[in-house]
Assembly symmetry: C2
Homo-oligomer: 260 residues x 2
Amino acid sequence: MELTPVADLPEIRPGDDIADLVADRAGDTLAEGDVLTVASTIVSKAEGRTADLDDYPVSGRANELAERIGDLTGEEKDPRFAQAVLEESTELLIDAPFLLTETRFGHICVNAGIDRSNVPGHDLLLLPERPSESAARIRDGLEERGYEDVAVIVTDTCGRPFRHGQRGVAIGWDGLPASRDWRGERDRDGRELGVTVQSVVDELAAAANLVTGEGAGGTPAVVVSDWAFGDLDGSDELFRSVEDDLIRQALRGWEWRADE
Amino acid sequence: MELTPVADLPEIRPGDDIADLVADRAGDTLAEGDVLTVASTIVSKAEGRTADLDDYPVSGRANELAERIGDLTGEEKDPRFAQAVLEESTELLIDAPFLLTETRFGHICVNAGIDRSNVPGHDLLLLPERPSESAARIRDGLEERGYEDVAVIVTDTCGRPFRHGQRGVAIGWDGLPASRDWRGERDRDGRELGVTVQSVVDELAAAANLVTGEGAGGTPAVVVSDWAFGDLDGSDELFRSVEDDLIRQALRGWEWRADE
């Protein structure tokens, strides 16, 4: 398996065609069966998903949240930002000392994935509205330019429980299933496998993040070649619902206390 | 970045020298600065970390746990297995409908990572006792054979909250830091980065798991080349303590109810 960053992508502006920009720069690398990973930041920029704090008239709920976080952490929280997070979310899983929410498309992350560091000319960069549809559009764009059967993954980086640090994850994908199902496969001794469902889109996103880098030298698109999904069954279930997730159940009704 | 599976490793037996077996098969591939990932299953086999259910005289606590899980799920749980999980763990985070524990070396996973599917001649395969020490031994072994400066990661696969499926993670490492710290770095517009600490060992483990595969055709060791940690600061903190982990705090005192 080989990962090649797509070099020299320009600063992305609203309306830019990512498939076009990638094809121009990685056309020689891209082959049938490859996977292209694209950082959500540039997808959001191309889709004009920027916003300003003043776009968010503050509700009572946002005021409460910002005040409570301010009181508990001693750091001031802009209620307009809390409002933006609420508007991008369907459920608030943790309301202090930070906002952990489920976004409208099912991804669980801090602050609904809203980025305050990466937005020329605006206050906020929101995540793509429907990242799997974004992936499909990029895939279609590549196909139109003659690059057949390239799967596309839209990636984000976020933290996680139990382990420090952030890692790349998939938030949208098209052209490959989210996971690979090993159920029924057997080991060398004929025993059934313990590991059953492998989240390949997340593993691809994590791999790509190793070559993407951050900051000014970052390369937000990566071509993965010499890797194949194989002929196992696939599934497109990536985001757990409350019913499938004991941690989400445990978070319901739980409140953070600063003394813990 | 390139990932090459180490082909044709034999079934690993207690006392086998993994550095030796890998050097014999991947000696032409291995270069200074490469990372070798090794699945915990073969590290455990080489270290003789097999066990049998009869090795675990059942405590009252293990009986209680097995009974409760049996009552709640309708599936019988062997109390000797519950006892094995307790003996490999320092904290029980979830006690039903499955056992989620912190292992003695800090990794949080179901059943303390004990494997029942992958153990010729025994009932159980335990995780390595101190995986970072295992990684250091393999790294030293490679160095003795003339392969200088190869980092080693011992990997496992496990599930996670919020997202379906399993992905590769690091449980031990030597020769590189666990994470890369981007704090103070800036984006193209000079803004400070939102993402700060990148868990590179987990991303490398996830990447390797894409080429490792499972089952009879699996290749439990992978060479990662053309990737460098770079000159950013590193940290070796990978496992969160309760104080650093809101999810662990929320799980304290929480009890699963079958009707949720």
